[in-house]
């Protein structure tokens, strides 16, 4: 049986090695994927910028997701060049065609004064809490840190805001603002799952804050117990939000949110529900249409019953609000294809989704080529039925 030293020597003779200078040249060409096979604590203390991290023990099972192209060159490193020698051999056996190990490892890299990326890093409890995110290559530690640093404003802590707030909180969105003037009413509890029987009569923002903080203490909840209006929206937006989730229950608020979001260039994840059907889309200012491109004017009030008048299946906002949370997370992470320029329709009775295309209106009064609405209007009057096309 060979000793460790003999095995290492044997392995090193079977692989290619480069020194720190050669490694730097290769890495700076941008061509190779750089794989760090050290343990988590070593990675946290600093690593080569742009490297992907797979502890040696997980190499075989995880490398395919991180380096799907076997033809792309690989530079693998550890702290001194021993673990990476074994890793290089394994990668060659897995079919990677051009693998080199950094002789002297990260220690030599640092000794040469080459760039090192320090990780802000997740702590141990966070690593456990978000472990299912960390396993997804599109999220990973970097994505999770982005989420923890992201700020999402929820307009409404009702049917849509309830599931959206809980999922965003669970996902680790670092700061969640909630605007809602109402108190929890018995008729809310059939669907507004962020509230509970014991919070009856309590302001919704306080009830939601308590539920969210119980779910995830990493999240800071900023409550705004007020009805969003032309008078307070600038103050609320000044707190700095990356994404707005619109779960309002009335047209004046939806037009107000739209105009403000266009002027502040904040994407809005829009959801609306009625009885068994819901709609979801993303209004990303100037990249896709805005709410006014879709509906230049609201319907006369008598033609647009609300859920309070017409009812809604309790679980419907669960579906639509969760889709809104999913879109908000994608926007915060910068991954996937958000619903920009597409409107998703869901019908719970037939369990079917439909999709229609939305286009920017060049004549849109807010985001068009020659906008005619450039400051807040009286939104209640605008939606009151005495409509004058803008």
């Amino acid at each position: 049986m060979p000793t460790y030293r003999e095995l290492l020597q044997q392995t090193r003779s079977e692989i290619s090695e480069i020194d720190a200078n050669q490694a730097r040249e290769r890495i700076e060409s941008g061509e190779p994927v750089v794989v760090d096979v050290r343990e988590q604590d070593e990675w946290d203390e600093g690593h080569i910028p742009g490297a992907v991290h797979v502890p040696r023990g997980h190499l075989e099972s995880r490398i395919e997701r991180l380096a799907p192209d076997p033809v792309r060159p690989v530079v693998v490193y550890c702290s001194a060049g021993n673990r990476s020698a074994f890793a290089a051999k394994t990668l060659a056996e897995l079919g990677y065609e051009d693998v080199v190990s950094l002789a002297g490892g990260f220690t030599d890299w640092k000794r040469n004064g080459f760039p090192v990326q320090l990780q802000a890093g997740l702590d141990v409890p966070q690593r456990a809490r978000y472990s299912r995110h960390l396993l997804i290559p599109e999220v990973g530690e970097e994505g999770q840190l982005k989420l923890l640093d992201s700020k999402v404003l929820l307009v409404g802590a009702g049917g849509l805001g309830s599931p959206a707030s809980l999922y965003l909180a669970a996902a680790g969105v670092g700061r969640i603002g909630i605007v809602d003037a109402d108190v929890v009413d018995e008729s809310n509890l059939q669907r507004q799952i962020v509230h509970s029987t014991e919070s009856l009569g309590e302001p919704k923002v306080d009830s939601a804050k308590r539920a969210i903080e119980a779910l995830n203490p990493d999240v800071e909840v900023v409550p705004y117990q007020e009805r969003l209006s032309s008078e307070n929206i600038e103050r609320i937006l000044a707190d700095g939000w990356d994404v707005i989730v619109d779960g309002a229950d009335n047209f004046p608020t939806r037009y107000l949110v739209n105009d403000a979001s266009v002027w502040h260039r904040i994407p809005v994840v829009h959801g609306s529900i009625y009885r068994f059907e819901g709609q979801v889309t993303v209004f990303k200012p100037y990249e896709g249409p805005c709410y006014r491109c879709l509906f230049p004017t609201p319907p006369p009030p008598e033609l647009a019953p609300s859920c309070a008048e017409g009812g809604v299946l309790g679980v419907l906002p669960g579906v639509i609000g969760s889709l809104q949370a999913s879109e908000a997370l994608k926007l915060a992470l910068g991954i996937g294809e958000p619903l920009i320029g597409r409107l998703l329709l869901f019908d719970a009775l037939t369990a079917a989704f439909d999709e229609v295309k939305l286009r920017r209106d060049p004549d849109c009064p807010v985001c068009g080529e020659q906008p005619t609405i450039t400051e807040y209007v009286d939104y209640v009057e605008f939606c009151s039925g005495t409509r004058e096309p803008a």
Partner: protein, 89 residues
């Protein structure tokens, strides 16, 4: 014959049905057929002789305003979705 999806906010004016079959070679003819049978739909769908600004009409997923509006030709067997604004949350 064209299938027209009736949204929940318009169903009361359309006999409670989720989907209606309509006849016509253009969007205008389809809507006229529907509004002839269900007069309550008229104020919900048209305003000043055009599609009302608070409703969108999609033919095979495309907004007919980006096609030829009410004059957009409709092939038999296609699907039309009526989409009024809803505010509920």
């Amino acid at each position: 014959m064209t299938k027209v999806r009736i949204p929940p906010t318009l169903r009361e004016q359309a006999g409670g049905q989720r989907e209606l079959a309509a006849e016509g070679d253009t969007v205008r003819e389809l809507l006229e057929d529907l509004m002839g049978r269900f007069p309550g739909l008229r104020t919900q769908l048209v305003e000043d002789g055009d599609i009302a600004p608070f409703v969108n009409v999609y033919l095979e997923g495309e907004d007919v305003r980006t096609l030829d509006g009410l004059e957009t030709e409709v092939r038999p067997g296609s699907t039309v979705i009526l989409l009024p604004a809803m505010a509920g949350g």
